[in-house]
């Protein structure tokens, strides 16, 4: 059964180029079908803090599926809530593409359906293999039917078309070209956008520059770290629920790295003394700022928003507003343990810290 939505929008199918970038994507399609396959499908999609290396020359046309569905997850010791997710985790999967790549994106609103992320589908994505092997948030499928949408900050399109809201059971499919390199948040844009993002609907796409960041050296490790806030309060039963007033007043209950108060301590980033480490860091908000610092390190080079032209050197702290990012290279000085921290200490004490463990110099 295939029922197309009646929604009429102006067609935008005239593709054109400016400065080598491609604009003018075909109109999004919204339809209903009976897809019940894996919720995350694609070759370069991973669970935080991992980034799947790009192993191809030139550009590629990616076909990516990332469904939206509800999962009951743990976000701190003893704190569970029913999250609205992309792909089943908060933040959602890390999507890796190259500057100039084309993406055909498909998303089914499966918020009225039980979808598991702990059984990888056949050849679906590294993300699902990783969540099955490492279900750190103890995700359990749940149902809470709500309208949702997808807004990729890495896309340059008419939001009124591509970022349209779809009802439970509907699927949206659209194309875009990742014209600009950088690390870009994606999030649900359905009102209340504050509620939808705070409930967990956000993640990042890393668009690697086609000519890299620098010819001076190769990095030894590459990670992705996302900061975000939760606004939760105890609910009627054992679960926590959305704290509307906390969200309105920007008073988060938890500020976290990679979606959980302790995930980056229990599963620290790893490196060795003398190595160059690159972190794609994104502050997904929804409302707070981040002053990202690593205790004992200085950021050798920083590319604001992850664009290779925006280079800074020798930064102690990178200040990022909501939905801003930076690509950060640093040299791990000695064997030992390093704390990643939001130097806004109120946030740090609500959870925005993590650990990098450095082994001896090799």
């Amino acid at each position: 059964m295939l029922l197309c939505s009646f929604t009429a929008l102006q067609a935008q199918s005239l593709e054109y180029q400016i400065d080598g970038m491609t604009f003018g994507m075909p109109e999004a399609r919204v339809y209903t079908d009976d897809y019940d396959g894996p919720p995350v499908v694609g070759d370069y999609i991973s669970m935080l803090p991992n980034l799947v290396p790009l192993d191809y020359e030139g550009n590629k046309h990616h076909h990516i599926r990332m469904d939206t569905m509800v999962q009951e997850i743990e976000v701190a010791n003893g704190v569970r809530y029913r999250a609205w997710t992309f792909g089943g985790t908060v933040p959602g999967p890390v999507i890796h593409v190259k500057e100039g790549d084309r993406i055909t994106f498909t998303m089914t609103n499966r918020s009225d359906e039980m979808v598991t992320i702990t059984e990888p589908g056949v050849a679906s994505s590294q993300f699902l293999e990783q969540t099955a092997a490492n279900n750190f948030m103890d995700a359990q499928p749940s149902i809470m039917p709500m309208p949702h949408s997808m807004d990729f900050h890495s896309g340059t399109v008419a939001a009124s078309d591509k970022w349209r809201t779809i009802a439970p059971g509907q699927t949206i499919e659209f194309d875009f070209v990742a014209n600009y390199p950088g690390t870009y948040i994606y999030h649900c844009g359905t009102p209340s956008v504050l509620m939808h993002t705070a409930m967990g609907q956000h993640g990042v796409m890393v668009v690697s520059p086609k000519d890299g960041y620098t010819d001076d050296y190769e990095v030894d490790r590459e990670y992705v770290v996302v900061q975000s806030e939760y606004y939760l309060r105890p609910g009627a039963g054992e679960l926590y629920q959305y704290d509307f007033e906390g969200a309105q007043n920007v008073n988060p209950s938890h500020v976290v790295f990679n979606g959980h108060q302790s995930i980056l301590h229990d599963q620290p980033l790893k490196a060795n003394a003398g190595e160059r480490v690159r972190i794609h860091f994104s502050n997904n908000g929804p409302s707070g700022t981040s002053s990202f610092h690593i205790i004992g390190a200085i950021f050798d080079r920083v590319w604001m928003e992850g664009h290779p032209f925006n280079e800074m050197r020798g930064m102690q702290t990178v200040l990022l507003g909501a939905s801003s990012s930076a690509t950060i290279d640093f040299i791990v000085p000695e064997e030992g343990s390093y704390t990643l921290i939001d130097h806004e200490f109120a946030d740090a004490e609500k959870g925005a810290t993590g650990t990098l463990i450095a082994g001896p110099r090799k």
Partner: protein, 268 residues
């Protein structure tokens, strides 16, 4: 175009009804008045609503079962795809038996707009209009703005925790408007006749609309916005685990709701 298709389908649906309902459920009169919708309005001109009757509670599983007994073509196995999505009553055991997690006196859910509309026609009524439903919903009595805000805050919490596996009985929320209409919040979301209100072309379902919807200047309108947004995303075939309905009737009542239910056949 969309409206015309909807209109044709509605006419077709009306031809598919049969037999008589047992007893119309209890409805109460909501005296006419005016209210501020959260949608943009002409300044100084609140929306006028005429008197009407509305069911005290949402339609229950047992009431909907009666409807299905009398109107076989609205059963899960027979309803045409044009009138309901795949999820129509999918949590029921079979055509006429609500699932184990669907008590007889809990509101029926996973019903399409067409089915809800047909049911109300069979009852001799109709779905409430969006304005009627929202007008009734804001006829709550609060002593202070602080109380109203506390209530709205609870509502926002509810919208983030709806549990479709455990929908309680009608009347169980304890939430009641000043004319006795129950559970407009806290139990399910409900179909209205015109669930997609006509919007100005500059008014879209996006993150900018939320701020513009705060017309009443309180948290209550914020919770209302969530309802408008959710309804606007639906198609008439949508069936989700949180959507049910109640019926409305024109005032003055030309017949006794309790002893003279309408005799109309409603077919999909």
């Amino acid at each position: 175009m969309k409206n015309r298709i909807l209109h044709i389908l509605t006419l077709a649906a009306a031809l598919l009804l049969s037999a008589r309902p047992s007893m119309a459920q209890e409805a109460v009169e909501i005296p006419g008045g005016s209210f501020h919708s959260i949608l943009p309005e002409v300044e100084g001109k609140p929306l006028e609503v005429e008197s009407f009757y509305m069911d005290v509670t949402a339609v229950t599983n047992s009431e909907f079962t009666e409807f299905l007994m009398e109107n076989p073509r609205w059963r899960r196995s027979q309803i045409p795809a044009a009138f309901a999505g795949e999820g129509y009553l999918r949590h029921w055991q079979d055509d006429l038996t609500p699932g184990e997690e669907s008590p007889a006196d809990a509101p029926v859910t996973r019903v399409s707009w067409f089915a809800a509309n047909a049911y109300c026609g069979w009852k001799g009524g109709r779905l409430p209009t969006l304005d009627e439903w929202e007008y009734s919903a804001q006829l709550m009595e609060f002593d202070t703005p602080a109380q109203s805000n506390a209530f709205a805050s609870e509502l926002m919490g509810w919208y983030s925790t709806v549990n479709t596996d455990n929908i309680r009985s009608v009347g169980s929320t304890g939430i009641v408007n000043k004319y006795g209409v129950r559970d407009q919040f806290g139990l399910i979301m409900e179909w209205v006749e015109d669930f997609e209100p006509p919007m100005g072309s500059d008014f879209q379902l996006n993150c900018g609309s939320m701020g513009r919807m705060q017309q009443a200047g309180n948290l209550y309108s914020y919770a209302a916005s969530v309802r408008y947004m959710t309804r606007m995303s639906f198609t008439p075939q949508t069936t989700t685990g949180m959507i049910g309905f109640r019926c409305a009737y024109d005032a003055p009542l030309t017949r006794n709701l309790y002893s003279e239910p309408a005799l109309r056949e409603v077919l999909p």
